[in-house]
């Protein structure tokens, strides 16, 4: 199975990744090879097998609804590339 250039570009767009043409070509080849390799899973009959999303036993992890101190605002904003009025500043979302 070989992915098309358009498919690779679509995945990159879903993943919010700008890729160069060289990257698109390389990933097309490498991802196709990896998908061929993982296709061996299709041979297994799993019709009556439940999926495992976590190995932990299902349980409630709710805590008491009590206020407790969190991290300081300035400590959290300190790593941001742009801050204004105690908020993260970004360019327009809509053009």
């Amino acid at each position: 199975m070989t992915l098309t250039i358009a498919e690779v570009e679509h995945i990159a767009s879903l993943a919010r990744l700008n890729l160069t043409d060289a990257e698109v070509a390389r990933f097309r080849e490498q991802l196709s090879a990896i998908l061929d390799y993982v296709a061996q899973l299709q041979a297994l009959d799993t019709s009556d097998i439940p999926p495992t999303s976590s190995v932990l036993p299902p349980r409630s992890v709710l805590r008491q609804d009590e206020p407790h101190p969190g991290l300081a605002l300035d400590a959290l904003l300190a790593n941001a590339p742009q801050v204004e009025a105690d908020q993260f500043r970004v360019p327009p979302v809509l053009e």
């Binding site: 767009s13 299709q42 439940p50 190995v55 790593n79 970004v90 360019p91």
Partner: protein, 498 residues
């Protein structure tokens, strides 16, 4: 003075308490050795020498006071230097995850494991190199340069916790924290000739660990031997209310230094049933690795254990399952790196382009590859065939282990198909690099603990490792067996000449 750096963690604790040397001297010895060898090895991404010496002076004060009234108890790791993989947050110290997308990130808080080490009196030497976001098996995917294997500088240390493994192997630090999503503690431990513990999923808090594959990631330990690994493991393990995936189960008391498992004649492993899975002794396995592992199993039998074949029939599917599930989880976890809240930003006119440019310019090739693969596996139309099917096969792999542990107490197997490979050997072919993890991934998928330790050397003088895999929350058993082995074998005491 530099020879103090070669002491095992437990010997160092003993020496500090007796007053044979001070924590300041011990820390200075490690820093001196780091200073001398780091240009050749590149184990560290950040060094915190000054803070470490200040911590050591404080520890020395406490130790002197204690020697005057030794009835008081001391924090278990007081004055001992340790290193931490650069995917775990230490407040105030840069955390890059080996990535340019976090090149200027300084965490405002400690990971719980770091907090526990500090509360236990440990002194932090620095942050160790890793494949970018722990994705890799060689540290070649670090954006900040490869770490070299202390046994052969032209070879990789393994990965992704390669900086931690190489640092312990070269005696730059007595022990170090690593993380293991598909083998990232055990594989570098094996390639560097040290002992590496991957605990059970849920045993150690991941609060403050930068997430990669959340259903698989665990924090583990790299150390000179099983007794040292046990001492660090006891410190970091246990329930943490800040991590909803950590379990509130009692931790068995593992003080291997105080166990009397001294000699062959004592048969310390009497009654232990070791399973040897045929699926782990396959084509492509280096003959010397197979011989080393089989010899080690004979030694365990001489110590009283019995060995028998077991089958884990779905082993061959573990790798394809992993390379769907881990990238899928990674693609979601790494969505947070968007140039808004932390990390550098590639400026653009629209937010959409800020995301795409920042991520496109700052992520390395392997991270992009996995994000792409994971996004594809989760995308509309492919979800059931890829992600859903992989989750079902994961169930089969988990059941394999449950069935095996109905017959045996522990499973013994190779850690990696070969000893350390050359830098660049797999770099053009991602699939061949993925095959490095073929024997370590099943334990992550099943959530069970694994322990790697050295059992010999090949003709080129490179370490050979063996792994023990145990039932869920059975770390104590693994550590006891490896400890008994290390009482009669001396592979773990050998040091590379650099």
């Amino acid at each position: 003075m530099e020879e103090l750096a070669s002491l095992s963690l437990l010997r160092a604790i003993q020496g500090l308490r007796r007053g044979d040397f001070s924590s300041r001297e011990l820390v200075a010895a490690c820093l001196q050795r780091i200073d001398r060898l780091e240009p050749r090895l590149h184990c560290f991404l950040a060094l915190t020498g000054e803070a470490a010496l200040a911590q050591a002076v404080q520890a020395d004060r406490r130790l002197s006071a204690w020697r005057l009234s030794p009835h008081e108890s001391l924090p278990p790791l007081l004055g001992v230097p340790l290193a931490v993989k650069d995917v775990l947050c230490v407040a105030g110290v840069p955390c890059t995850c080996g990535s340019r997308i976090l090149e200027n990130f300084i965490p405002p808080y400690h990971a719980t494991v770091v907090e526990r080490l500090l509360a236990a009196g440990a002194v932090l030497l620095g942050k160790t190199n890793t494949d970018e976001f722990a994705m890799g098996s060689s540290t070649e995917n670090s954006a900040y340069g490869v770490t070299r294997n202390p046994w052969d500088l032209e070879r990789v240390p393994g990965g992704s916790s390669g900086g931690s493994a190489a640092a312990v192997s070269a005696r730059l630090a007595p022990a170090a924290l690593g993380t293991d999503t598909g083998g990232s503690v055990r594989q570098p431990a094996s390639l560097c000739g040290v002992t590496g513990l991957k605990p059970s999923y849920g045993r150690v808090s991941r609060y403050g660990l930068v997430a990669f594959g959340s259903s698989l990631d665990v924090v583990g330990v790299l150390a000179q031997d099983a007794a040292d690994a046990a001492a660090v493991f006891r410190t970091i393990a246990g329930y943490d209310p800040r991590d909803a995936t950590s379990l509130d189960l009692p931790l068995p008391d593992i003080r291997l230094d105080e166990l009397g498992t001294g000699s062959l004649a004592d048969l310390p492993l009497k009654g232990i049933r070791i399973g040897v899975p045929q699926e782990y002794f396959i084509g492509g396995l280096q003959a010397e690795v197979e011989t080393g592992v089989r010899e080690a199993i004979k030694t365990l039998e001489a110590l009283g254990a019995s060995a028998q074949p077991v089958s884990l029939p779905h082993t061959q599917y573990a790798l394809p399952v992993y390379y769907l599930l881990a990238p899928a989880e990674a693609s979601a976890n790494l969505a947070r790196y968007d140039g808004v809240r932390y990390g550098p930003r590639a400026e653009s006119d629209t937010l959409w382009q800020v995301f795409r440019r920042t991520r496109g310019e700052r992520f390395g090739a392997e991270v992009k590859r996995r994000i792409m693969l994971g996004t594809y596996a989760l995308s509309a139309g492919y979800y059931d065939a890829y992600y859903g099917q992989a989750q079902k096969v994961r169930t089969l792999i988990k059941r394999d282990f449950e069935q095996a542990f109905g017959q045996v107490d522990v499973i013994a197997a190779p850690v990696t198909p070969t000893t350390a490979f050359r830098i660049g050997e797999h770099s053009d072919d991602p699939l061949s690099m993925y095959l490095e993890d073929i024997f370590t991934i099943p334990a992550n998928l099943a959530g069970v603990p694994g322990l790697a330790f050295p059992v010999g050397f090949d003709r080129q003088g490179l370490p050979i490792g063996m792994q023990l895999i145990g039932p869920y929350f059975g770390e104590d058993q693994l550590l006891r067996i490896a400890h008994a082995y290390q009482q009669v074998a001396d592979w773990h005491t050998r040091q590379p000449t650099i």
